[in-house]
Symmetry: C2
Subunit: 124 residues, 2 copies
DNA sequence: CAGTATCCGACCGGATACTG
DNA sequence: CAGTATCCGGTCGGATACTG
């Protein structure tokens, strides 16, 4: 048996890169906005601690999913955007989303009631 | 607005269902074997604690990804297989795997050196 | 504005022993 | 064979305060 043929390795790598409580919503916003300031992301995402958001962004940058751009000057101005590598992941993420809505609609509804409810509250 | 349009709610739900250190390799084997006994899985997966494997299988069953079937008698005989819901996730998982091999080949190679290396050791 | 520095509790993977 | 029952250590998300 040739173990180099194992097909779960890449899957494991990808899931590891995506694991992190706020990464899906970060990716969602970056996919829809082309470029966002740090505070912009921080205000939009409900109840996330600054440190945690920074941790996630650092990981995603280290994994090459997003690109961090810093303009010199004061006050600091940092923006994040999706890399080509990240964009290439879009269809796969879309497939995961579609599957959930089709086969796990209840859990999705539950998720919306909790997290998205908090989001509205946060923005008002 | 014509980007890769995924919302993050379903994505979050799906990733939560897939989060677990050994779930990718469990799914891999169940996808390729149609039906497996518990010990069969346990022997194949390197260095996983019985309790952890059971935890993962219980979660996956609760999420409806796999089906647990128990035949009465002694000694116990329990087998696991992928549900229709789980099978429907196959293409999306495949897309994640493909992306990793194309855009994160280094990490995949590294993963093989560690985990698959342990597998050989475990089987010998 | 965009970070760092601490500190903390909860959860998760894991080791080990026991059971019907 | 296929589980339970404990206990443990590390990591992760999070709250709070401080800084260039």
């Amino acid at each position: 048996m040739n173990y180099n043929q194992f097909k779960h390795c890449g899957l494991n790598v990808t899931l590891t890169m995506l694991s992190g409580k706020w990464k899906p919503i970060i990716l969602y916003h970056l996919f829809h906005n082309a470029e966002m300031r740090f505070t912009e992301l921080w205000r939009i995402i409900p109840k996330v601690a600054k440190k945690v958001l920074l941790d996630h962004l650092k990981q995603m940058e280290a994994d090459g999913l997003i690109i961090r751009e810093e303009k010199q000057g004061f006050p600091p101005e940092v923006s994040y955007r999706v890399s080509e590598k990240g964009k290439a992941l879009g269809p796969a993420l879309s497939a995961l989303e579609t599957w959930a809505n089709e086969y796990a609609a209840d859990e999705v509804a539950e998720f919306k009631k909790t997290t998205v409810g908090k989001l509205r509250q946060h923005l008002s």
